[in-house]
């Protein structure tokens, strides 16, 4: 994974808005993607992740910067000259062609001979578990099946990089979970480098080898799912990835003063937390890192108790803020609404984050 495979160097792309303004969809973005990696571009809509994907595909030309694949510049080439293929959010299957012809289309463009095309179409259909569907029309398939055909069509080309633009966003939750597992398996089996765009942080974490978190055209954090989750670089990432209690506090001697007169000792924070000598800080604590304790450090009043099956979510009013604790469903005494409780952060997982 050390060798550079796909290099994105200082890519900037500015769009003109109809009102005459400018939007910097990509602002000097640089990143390297390794061969065979499952790489995630994550962020809310409008953060630039799709623009980056389209720039790699050649459907968008960046204003400046370079895109290099295996040492060769590709950003000035038209899409048909790039060894990359895309699975579109809308699937974009050709409605007037059969499933088989859709998959064969890309191979015919490479002048692959007829027998080989037929073989690879069959292979691709088997890969997505839709063998025998070649004669159907796309309109006769369900959304999930169309999605698989779009995937098969791109995979049949054996691209050096497969680009996926929110391919699962139109599927229902159950189907989406199934496809996540299947995509991961396909990626492992084919060894193809996947670049996957999503706004769904859960999807990003469950599939990605590495995640680049985008905000307003810039990469805010680039790391493995575990690191991004455990060590978010700022409040934005902490809040976007998973669920986090962001509590504003002030540095006092030996700890951080939180609302409601609570003080969190410094030795309870993650060891690599950056704590300024004085002033305001933001403390991030994941709901699952909070437990009910007899004489806990954070005291408050229970406002709501929500039983979700696998956990009990307790909303606690601490001073003038609300803190959520997610408790294990079994082995925990469920507190009553309105009762006074104290909470303790566990595992030294609480940390200060830049706001």
């Amino acid at each position: 994974m050390s060798e550079k495979y796909l290099e994105i160097c200082n890519i900037t792309k500015v769009f003109q808005t109809p009102e005459g303004g400018e939007v910097r969809a990509l602002d000097d973005v640089t990143l390297d993607i390794a061969s065979g990696e499952f790489f995630i571009l994550l962020g809310p809509s409008g953060c630039g992740k799709t623009t980056l994907l389209r720039s790699i595909a050649g459907l968008e030309y960046p204003d400046s910067g370079e895109i290099i694949l295996q040492g060769e510049r590709i950003d000035d080439k038209p899409p048909y000259d790039r060894p990359v293929n895309t699975v579109f959010q809308s699937y974009a299957l050709f409605p007037h062609m059969t499933v088989g012809d859709n998959i064969a289309f890309g191979l015919e463009m490479e002048n692959v001979d007829k027998d080989e095309v037929a073989k690879r179409v069959e292979e691709a259909l088997e890969q997505v578990q839709l063998a025998g569907y070649a004669k159907r029309m796309p309109s006769q398939l369900s959304g999930g099946q169309q999605q698989r055909i779009a995937l098969a069509r791109a995979l049949a080309k054996k691209p050096k990089v497969l680009l996926l633009d929110e391919p699962l966003s139109a599927l229902d939750l159950k189907l989406r979970r199934g496809m996540q597992v299947e995509l991961k398996r396909l990626q492992r089996e084919t060894g193809i480098t996947f670049v996957f765009v999503t706004h769904d942080q859960e999807e990003a974490m469950s599939m990605g080898d590495r995640i680049a978190v985008f905000s307003q055209g810039k990469i805010v954090q680039l790391d493995t799912p575990v690191e991004v989750y455990r060590r978010p670089v700022n409040a934005y990432v902490a809040d976007f990835i998973g669920e986090t209690n962001l509590i504003k506090g002030t540095v006092v001697s030996g700890g951080i003063s939180l609302p409601g007169g609570n003080v969190l000792p410094t030795d309870q924070l993650a060891a690599d937390s950056v704590i300024p000598a004085s002033g305001d800080v933001t403390v991030a604590i994941r709901p699952e890192d909070l437990v009910l304790a007899a004489n806990g450090m954070i005291s408050g009043t229970v406002r709501d108790v929500i039983f979700t099956g696998d956990s009990v979510r307790v909303h606690v009013t601490v001073g003038d803020v609300e803190v959520i604790a997610s408790l294990a469903s079994y082995g925990t005494e469920i507190p009553e609404q309105g009762s006074k409780v104290t909470l303790n952060p566990e595992h030294r997982a609480a940390r200060t984050v830049a706001s």
Binding site: L59, P78, Y80, P95, G106, K157
Partner: protein, 307 residues
């Protein structure tokens, strides 16, 4: 209990909102049936009747002579020979219409695609511009065309600067030019209607799969706008086949199309039965063309219905 549950059923029978009653369609259907059916019937009946020895109208005697006269000429000495005059006129009409269809099609596809790719506000404006000629009477527009293509018109004067001779008025090229001009919007509009619905993400997908520009047009865009193209061909070719004004005003009456011959038989030549027979032949040929088009469309699996 039954007494309570009956009322809603009566309401359901009145039909859903937005679903118009078939009664509203009766009047226009009856009107159209009369306006199209009755003249057609008269034409068919007249085509089998004799021409009176003098004056206009028909003599109520059954005959097949009118149809015979379309193809066979009786000479003064009593012998018969093949008469190619009317076949030639039909061929001329067919040829002009085909040329008009091909040229308007070639011009309309890029125009329609270009309009379809503009933003919504510009699209509406451009479509309005395409329909602008409809605001002016076709007669006046054809007069205008005559001024433009005249030897001393703007084109002629401009080419005169380079000593290029320009003289097309009252000849076939002027007729064809007039046909192209009049029928162009009828080709652009249906193709635009199809192109506007085209999902341009499909073109992106084709690029992404390795297709070059022309391949994208040929294999993805054209098949998607085919219903519009077929409608456009029908809307241009069929009326062009029966067009009268262009050959009369721009062709100078020298280049007769079949409609001019029909009109002449009802006018100066005072031979209504023969004119009717020629009109019936034109209708049959047009119908044949429509059926062939529809057959071709159905074989390709397009949902196009022309008749």
């Amino acid at each position: 209990m039954t007494a309570v549950t009956t009322p809603p059923k009566k309401q359901a029978q009145r039909g859903r909102p937005g679903q118009s009653s078939p009664k509203l369609a009766y009047l226009p259907i009856i009107f159209l049936a009369f306006a199209i059916g009755v003249p057609l019937l008269i034409i068919v009946v007249y085509s089998f009747l004799e021409k009176p020895s003098q004056g206009t109208g028909v003599k109520w005697v059954f005959t097949l002579e009118n149809y015979k006269a379309l193809f066979i000429q009786e000479k003064l000495d009593g012998t018969t020979a093949l008469d190619t005059r009317y076949i030639k006129v039909l061929w001329t009409s067919f040829y002009y219409s085909l040329l008009t269809t091909v040229v308007t099609l070639a011009l309309s596809i890029p125009v329609a695609m270009w309009i379809a790719t503009r933003d919504a506000r510009k699209r509406n404006l451009l479509v309005a511009l395409v329909t602008l000629p409809f605001w002016i009477s076709i007669l006046i527009r054809t007069y205008g065309m005559r001024q433009i293509v005249a030897d001393e018109g703007p084109i002629g004067k401009f080419l005169g600067i380079f000593n290029i001779e320009w003289s097309i008025l009252y000849s076939p090229p002027a007729t064809i030019l007039g046909l192209i001009y009049v029928f162009l919007p009828f080709m652009i509009l249906p193709i635009y209607a199809s192109a506007e619905r085209f999902d341009f993400r499909l073109a992106e997908a084709a690029y992404d799969l390795g297709a070059k520009r022309m391949t994208v047009v040929r294999r993805v865009i054209l098949p998607s706008i085919r219903p519009g193209v077929i409608s456009g061909i029908a809307l241009v070719f069929i009326p062009a086949l029966g067009s009268f004004l262009q050959s009369d005003m721009l062709g100078g009456g020298k280049t007769n199309m079949v409609a001019n011959v029909i009109a002449n038989n009802f006018g100066q030549a005072r031979n209504w039965p023969f004119g009717s027979a020629l009109a019936v032949l034109l209708i049959v040929l047009t119908l044949l063309f429509v059926l062939i088009m529809q057959g071709a469309a159905q074989r390709r699996g397009d949902k196009v219905e022309l008749v």
